[in-house]
Amino acid sequence: MLRRIVVGAVAVALTATACGTRADFSSAPTGRRTQIIEEVVSGSGAPVAIGTTGPTTRTRTEVETPTLAPGSGIRNGKISIGGIFPLSGGLSALGVPPAKAAAAYYRWVNDHGGIDGLEIDFQTCDDKADPNQSAACTDRLVNAGVFTMGPSFTPFSPNVIPMLERKGVPWIGYDGINVEGFASPLAVTVGADIQTMGHALLPYWYRQVEQRTGTAPKDIGVVYLDSAPSRAYLAEAKETICPALGCRIAVETRVTYFTLDYSSICLQMRSANVDGVWIVTDPASAVKMLVQCRELKYTPSPGGFLGQHGVYMDLTMEQSGSFADGMLANSALLPPSVDAPAIREMKKIIGTYEKDISYGYFTVLGYASARMSVDVLRRALRADPTLTRASALKAAGQITSYDCNGLCEGVNLAPPAALHGGNHRIWIVRSKYDRNAGGHWVLDGGPVDAWRAETWPTPGRRS
């Protein structure tokens, strides 16, 4: 009897362990049909211009813009903007800062006259990083009549974009992490897709190591989380980037959130004598990898460790200390540890309303998204005082060089971002550990034009 209980319970638990709780990022928005749409008729009848540059993963003719719902969400001089964040649960450390940053920026705008007189009503919903809750939040916010979705952090929400498309509600301030949003004609983002990130980071690292040591990192070891974005990252490196650069992925090790033994992976990388290790995982897995390699005193030579979405891994540097010094990573936005006027202004505005906030990547993301949504809506209002969802999207489509008030550079806001590579000017950051100040990122290079730095065939951006 006992054995049956144990085996049964353990079989269930181990199945969950083996499968993990990974989100299916690969679920693309459904219901699109091949159709040329130059204009869509919104609920108010206004025409909307869609992206004017060439295709990346899909041809332009494949993009269909869902019919936009009539502009609601503006009542009594207030405009409602929705935001979804994991405010509780396992990812709340990543969800609370952007929610606070966006709320602080909107409050600052309201205290300074609103968006040309319109007061912002920022309605947030806690999805606990649960995809079902994300869907419930989307439903709730849309039914509550938000004008647009705004700053959010929804890493496990592949179904949010299709829901918004069905409802005809744009997402202005898309978090730029969920791959499916880049192909949506209703998502406006300052983010960059996986391919673009890879094209910025790997060549930069390759050249830097070659210059510094005289030896290019030709054999690369990759540790990647078993999820769609990571697999896409790896495929781009194997099929496009490395053949052009002259490197190869010598070892690839797949991990899950539940992988505990990273020491063996470090040993495996050492045994394969790789020139550098690229960590394409969530922050916690990166920490486990680095602290266990540190125990073994293993640092790949000459390339060391390479990160991804660098500022995404604030925790990684803090925990691995000086061991991670020099690790390179990429970022769509300036990291908050860089002393720049844009960062100082951000801290001043957020600091006016929020005393208890940590300035990590997600704080900048929330702030930049909020800032972008206000800039887009203000521009739309000035072009057409009858603000509709269509006019807001049209205004975004006309902004071809947006700088997030200094946090980013030359971003084309026209959706879908996949058509123009999203934010293709990427900052390259380097980890630096200071015994007194802890780990932080310093600017190493950039913004690097991901699609112009090398002369490879560009399957992505066409311009």
Binding site: M1, L2, R3, I5, V6, V7, A9, V10, A13, L14, T17, A18, C19, G20, S88, G89, G90, S92, A93, D226, V251, E252, T253, R254, V255, T256, F258, T259, L260, D261, S263, S264, I265, L267, Q268, S271, P283, A284, V287, K288, V291, Q292, R294, E295, L296, K297, Y298, L315, E318, Q319
Partner: protein
């Protein structure tokens, strides 16, 4: 060769934690017939308390360890008193379900006090050594040494001390033990206290190599059930050996089959199930040959 040796050494480190948790499960079961599914939760709580003591309050490591030991032992005692003894008239299933309630309570407690965000614990010791060109860090050595010490200590205590003999007697024949004056309640309490302390130590030792989250140790404790299963929920030496073996197997799978995500975690358990199936067939075969079938 270096890779193979390295995989074995790292496997022994990972297996040590599995072995400690498995030993706690076996210790409780052999004395009380209760399957304590809360062993991983005690380990998690111990790790959080140690983190609070040393990383947050900056108390000395030894003070932290002492507090964890006392707290984990007390939690073990509490489980016996609150979740197991009231269900003593129930069957094994009922009592196992009682310990699941403890898992949920401890998880709630951790979330209420520390929240769900990831926390990190610095290594308890630095330094390290190289064996056959494979380095073992100070934390690795501490884990190996602690497991060896606790394994030997448990073996000695269970055969050479009055309390240990009482535990063994209760395990072998509860009725005879009772007639000989062994008090079942005391034996159960002792087993839970010891198991709790083992859990607390395992959690504290493992966390510097991992990330501190409420569920992290539960994943290891699920694997440690495989070790206890291999030990028949009776034999401490077999449980500890199986825990170490599972760790080594996981490590070898990680090293030689890197693109099989999830497989290392289940490989050890599958091996235990396969081993048990083979052993069962062997026993059946012997019985058939003897003409007993």
């Amino acid at each position: 060769m270096t890779l193979f040796v390295g995989a074995i050494l790292q496997g022994l480190v990972a297996g040590s934690i599995i072995a400690l948790l498995g030993a706690g499960i076996t210790l409780v079961h052999r004395s009380t017939r209760v399957l304590n599914l809360a062993q991983g939760s005690i380990a998690a709580l111990g790790a959080y308390v140690f983190h609070q003591m040393t990383a947050v309050w900056r108390l000395p490591t030894l003070v932290g360890l002492l507090v964890v030991l006392v707290m984990s032992a007390a939690v073990g005692l509490g489980i016996e008193r609150a979740a197991v003894r009231p269900l003593r008239r129930g069957d094994a299933t009922v009592r196992a379900v009682g310990t699941i309630a403890v898992v949920l309570i401890i998880n709630w407690l951790i979330l209420a006090i520390w929240g769900a965000e990831q926390r990190f614990q610095p290594a308890l010791v630095g330094g390290g050594v190289s064996i056959a060109d494979v380095r073992l860090g100070g934390q690795h050595l501490l884990i190996l040494a602690s497991t060896a010490l606790l394994g030997v200590g448990l073996g000695w205590a269970s055969t050479r001390t009055r309390a240990g003999l009482a535990l063994a007697a209760a395990a072998q024949d509860p009725d005879a033990a009772r007639l000989l004056g062994v008090r079942a309640v005391r034996v159960a309490q002792g087993a839970f206290v010891l198991a709790g302390a083992l859990g607390g130590i395992a959690g504290t030792l493992a966390t510097p190599l991992l990330v501190l989250t409420p569920s992290q140790m539960i994943v290891i404790s699920v694997v440690s059930l495989g070790a206890a299963l291999a030990g028949g929920f009776e034999s401490l030496p077999r449980t500890i050996a199986a825990g170490l073996g599972i760790g080594v197997l996981q490590s070898i799978v990680t090293v030689y089959a890197p693109s099989t995500s999830g497989l290392p975690q289940i490989a050890g358990f599958l091996a235990v199930l396969a081993l048990l199936a083979i052993m069962r067939r062997r026993v059946d075969l012997v019985e058939i040959l003897r003409g007993n079938a």
